[in-house]
Amino acid sequence: MIKSEEGLLFDLKRYAIHDGPGIRIVVFLKGCNLNCAWCHNPEGIEAGPERMYAPARCIGCGTCVSACPNGALTLTPAGIVTDESLCELCGTCAAVCPTKAIEMSGTLQTLEQLMFEIGKERTFFEQSGGGVTFSGGEPLLHPDFLVRLLDECRSRGFHTAVDTAGLVSTEILLEVARHTDLFLYDLKLMDSERHRRWTGAPNEKILANLQALAATGAKIQIRIPLVGGVNDDEENILQTARFLATLPGEKPVVNLLPYHMIAQTKYEKLGRGADFQKLEEPDPEKVRRALEIFGENGLEAEVGG
């Protein structure tokens, strides 16, 4: 059971320059309630720790095999094979692996530890108007911890941003909003059925939450992962633009994030290579057209974020 003073992180990225204003640090909290086909952080989906194995780095030394307390590992010509029924995810193998071929994704960090790491970037925040971006996974799945972190950041004068897919209770979202300077709000598809098909959940709640959030006057940037053949069609873009144009308050800036397939190795490391779906990068012409459509609807849009 995770206490509110601790959180499970799967990454901490310094000198992040495409996740909000200025130079930022991005805190990736583990666990997500969507399962998007194009997810490029698949290790962020599971709420618990996971074992990642990169055969290319494995030198076949067998150190992990003899270290495993449960005898779950076997060295084969193809590398290490794990008997999942015996593995308890204790992390011993990762701790002894000389090459970091085995790594645990998800380390428990206390509030103090995390704030210490974040604080290392203070000068860069101050010089650039940057700050901290909480991402995931879905950071709003850890509202208590998140709010504590946001408050700690604020008390130190760090700008805060929360990168969310919005599928949480409105109450939680609005509570977090009171502690947050900027939302990076993901929108994937306007048609709920298509949304369900590609992400595993319908979108009514997500859209309603965005409206509720906008109504509070929160500062919002919209992020749209643009995937060829999935959501880059003119109809979806047009619906998105119209929806955004009618949001209350200040018009949000739209960032289009074209799909890339560099996440493939991550799936393989998680032992989920089969889950990886090679999707299409959006056609440049469609990206151009999307920018045009947002512009026609009075929205500022750009590629990248």
Binding site: K13, R14, Y15, I17, H18, G22, I23, I59, C61, T63, C97, P98, T99, K100, K120, E121, T123, F124, E126, Q127, S128, G130, H260, I262, G304
Partner: protein, 835 residues
């Protein structure tokens, strides 16, 4: 200074038929402002292969044969310089506005046999080697063999030095524990302040005449020495004036010939008009060359030509390291530019053309090649002229002006190897200038490097300079700082800090050869604590530094005695008023630098031993030392564990960083403030490596950080290759845990993929990253914008990437000119991928 950059294209290809087949640059390859004249001059400069001229050696040999022993050494040196200026071939190329070459033509380099005399084998190697060839005819080699070599045998500076050095020094030197700069070239490292824009050579002569007239032979024990030095200074001023006058005469003669050609011909009007224009230009050149350097310049043209004559004088008189440097060129030229713009006697385009002409002149002057082993091995020969742009004025105010932007523009458009240029971004520097620099950095040429004047002013003040002199200072060569126009800050050589640790780990033996080369500080297998190990390392460090200083001091004295530089002394305060030479304590400030290499490798090796042997006790010392001794053969698990499970320098991790701080501070303590042999002169350190980290890696076995035998050590103060995994901000945090103001320069190379600089917003953030680093106390940073695929492709097919320029550690070179080790090094650098 491992910094680098890649330039695409721009070396024009010569057409199949050279006859009238001029290179037509594509529009995107040249700046919109590069006019036809500049294109032609650039083409000539870039395409001409470096060659050797024996003219200077012949003049000098003849002169020494007749005059050695008749004159005091300073006067002999000055008269030798005068003799060469009077006789040397004068070159005035087509379309040139700024004139003067050290050799008989562009890219043609003289030799300096009084310092070090090339052997026939050296000349043959230079003439035939693959990299950086210097062509020389068989006939010239034969003349050298019969005339030059026999005369200088046994009399060169290099031979004097090697005849002296103690055995302990020789052993350490041959083991690669340090290098010695002054065995090949004269001590150099000179940058000018603004005095030559205020006073001409006749003004300097008048001052010297006054000093000579008031000399006190009755009471001043140095009277005779001073008198000889002053006489030598006078002669050297005359030499440069004569050199300029010979250009004026040649220009007038050429103008006259053009005049005759115009009146005698009936070609079409354009040809006649062009000749008329050139005739006017030649007459203007003659006028400029009669004005400067005798008198102070009155306008921009004269100011640039003034500097160029002084530059040529200093690099013809002697062959100093890092040649000569105009220092804050934008600040020096700005008053002329602004005055002429106001008077409408000059346009911005004309100013740009003149500056471009100067830029190309610098590129026409590759460094004279070295002798001995280095003739074969070393592939990089430029003279490290580093033009400082921006920064701080003498009065402490912001130094940027319209000229700063103009110099950046010229540098970007010309896209040539030399001169190097750097931007100086202090607290007061406007963001607009930083962003202008960012746009050039984005091009990926490796230029410009970025310096922090607020920190280096503090460095200079800490070294004892007045605040004003410190404000006027800057960086020359690569990253090393000095008080421009007032200081001799000589680089004495690189210190191989990881090698010192290696020898310590082997109780004084060089494990590569088995020869004892250092102190016996004990068998590390008997050490009970990390502190014991570190103390042994410290003892070894002090031993080696002392060895090096003893010989450097001796060499320094050899230059004062046998190879003074009276002309250089005229333009560096306070040589004239003191009546002492640049090499003899004449300058206001006298620094000897030792450049310490491999902070990253040393730190990571110590961190590995501390962590795995003494703290976690995962591996016993004996096992680690044996593994290192055998290049980790059969110990891959150990090596991988060390490489992946040791906190390394460059990740903002206090375990490793505190070791770096300790090593750095102990290097400072071992070196800084030790007296050199000049009045008030001191040793300081800087953390420069240029390409020496590659050589130093070659002389070493494996190291405890997992580095394999023969691989490069880390460069400058950058982290070891691949050791930094937390991005540039973490690297910068690690680097600023030690106090840069205790050094005379640190060096950080960061490699960025182009994707991190795509948008204007990205460049703004990179600018903010730089500001952050400088706020934290960083001295220098350089960015290489490259992608690995490009580099691999270039290695696979060099001919397709002829113009690929890589900026490493403060200098630039063509990727194809680098040897395979350097190329591999560039490729191995950590990429700060934004993905």
């Amino acid at each position: 200074m491992f910094e680098k950059v890649i330039i695409h294209n721009t070396i024009p290809e010569r057409g199949a038929s050279s006859e009238g087949n001029f290179y037509e640059p594509k529009a995107e390859q040249i700046g919109p402002g590069m006019n036809e004249r500049i294109q032609q001059l650039r083409k000539l400069s870039v395409e001409t292969e470096p060659s050797l001229s024996i003219e200077r050696a012949l003049h000098e040999t003849e002169f020494y044969r007749e005059n050695f022993g008749k004159l005091s050494v300073p006067v002999l040196r000055a008269a030798n310089f005068y003799d060469h200026c009077a006789r040397k071939t004068i070159y005035l190329g087509e379309g040139e506005l700024i004139v003067g070459e050290r050799g008989p033509r562009p890219k043609c380099v003289p030799t300096f046999p009084e310092l070090t005399c090339h052997s026939v084998e050296d000349l043959n190697v230079l003439n035939t080697r693959e990299l950086q060839r210097y062509t020389i005819s068989e006939e010239d080699i034969e003349t050298y063999r019969t005339t030059v070599i026999p005369f200088w045998a046994g009399k060169t500076q290099r031979e004097r030095i090697f005849a002296h050095v103690p055995e302990s020094w020789r052993l350490a030197y041959e083991a690669g524990m340090f290098t010695e700069f002054m065995e090949q070239r004269a001590p150099g490292h000179t940058a000018l302040d603004g005095k030559i824009y205020q006073r001409g050579m006749l003004d300097f002569k008048a001052e010297i005449a006054g000093l000579l007239a008031s000399i006190d032979y009755l009471n001043d024990p140095e009277a005779t020495d001073k008198a000889e030095e002053w006489k030598a200074m006078e002669i050297s001023c005359d030499a440069v004036i004569l050199f300029a006058e010979r250009h004026a005469e040649l220009a007038e003669r050429m103008a006259e010939e053009l005049g005759v050609a115009i009146s005698n011909c009936d070609e079409d009007e354009t040809v006649i008009e062009n000749r008329g224009t050139r005739r006017t230009e030649l007459l203007r050149i003659a006028e400029v060359c009669r004005r400067v350097p005798s008198h102070a310049p009155r306008n921009l043209w004269e100011a640039i030509q003034m500097y160029w004559f002084v530059h040529l004088g200093t690099i013809t008189e002697l062959n100093g390291w890092d040649a000569m440097n105009p220092g804050h060129f934008d600040q020096h030229l700005a008053p002329f530019y602004e005055k002429e713009l106001a008077e409408v006697t000059l346009t911005r385009e004309q100013a740009k053309e003149l500056i471009s002409c100067f830029w190309i002149k610098v590129n026409n002057h590759p460094a004279p090649p070295k002798v001995g082993i280095t003739a074969r091995e070393s592939g990089t020969y430029n003279d490290f002229t580093n033009i400082n742009i921006g920064g701080i004025r003498r009065d402490g105010s912001d130094g940027t002006s319209e000229l700063s932007y103009l110099l950046l523009e010229v540098a970007e458009e010309l896209h040539i190897l030399q001169p190097g240029f750097s931007v100086h971004i202090g607290k007061q520097t406007p963001d607009a200038f930083l962003m202008a620099a960012m746009r050039v950095i984005r091009q990926g040429h490796g230029y410009p490097s970025v310096f922090n004047p607020d920190v280096y002013v503090a460095e200079l003040v800490r070294q004892g300079k007045s605040l004003e002199d410190a404000h006027e200072g800057g960086c020359s060569g690569c990253i090393e700082v000095g008080a421009f126009g007032k200081e001799a800050y000589l680089l004495t050589g690189y210190l191989n800090v990881p090698k010192i640790l290696e020898v310590t780990l082997n109780n004084g033996i060089n494990p590569v050869t088995g020869i004892p080369v250092g102190l016996q500080t004990g068998d590390p297998r008997t050490f009970q604590t990390y502190e014991e190990l570190y103390d042994a390392f410290l003892k070894q460090l002090h031993y080696v530094v002392d060895l090096k200083m003893r010989v450097s001091n001796y060499i320094d004295r050899m230059f004062a005695k046998y190879a003074p530089a009276p002309f250089l002394s005229v333009v560096i305060d306070d040589c004239v008023t003191r009546g002492r030479d640049y090499y003899d304590g004449g300058p206001r400030y006298n620094t000897s630098y030792i450049q310490c290499c491999g902070l990253g490798t040393t730190t990571d090796s110590l961190a590995a031993l501390k962590h795995h042997v003494f703290e976690a006790q995962r591996f016993p010392m004996d096992r680690v030392l044996n593994a290192v001794l055998h290049n980790f053969e059969g110990e891959e698990v150990l090596r991988q564990t060390i490489m992946n499970r040791t906190p390394f320098f460059g990740n903002d991790d206090d375990f490793a960083d505190s070791i770096a701080v300790q090593v750095y501070n102990d290097l400072v303590d071992a070196i800084d403030g030790k007296p050199n042999i000049k009045p008030g002169g001191k040793y300081h350190l800087n953390m420069l490596s240029t390409t020496c980290h590659v050589y130093f890696g070659k002389v070493m076995g494996a190291t405890p950080n997992g580095r394999l035998s023969g691989k490069s050590i880390s460069d400058g103060t950058s982290p070891s290759h691949g050791a930094d995994t937390h991005g540039p901000s973490a690297v910068m945090k690690s680097l600023t845990k030690f106090d840069h103001t205790r050094s005379g320069g640190t060096l950080l190379n960061q490699r960025f993929l182009p994707s991190l600089l795509k948008k204007e917003e990205d460049r703004v953030k990179l600018g903010q990253l730089i500001r952050s680093y400088f706020t934290l106390g960083g001295h220098h940073v350089q960015f290489n914008i490259v992608d690995t695929a490009t580099l691999l492709a270039a290695q696979a097919c060099p001919s397709d990437y002829k113009d690929l320029m890589v900026r490493m550690a403060g200098y630039s070179d063509y990727f194809n000119d680098m040897n395979a080790d350097l190329q591999r090094e560039v490729i191995e650098r950590t990429e700060n991928s934004g993905l």
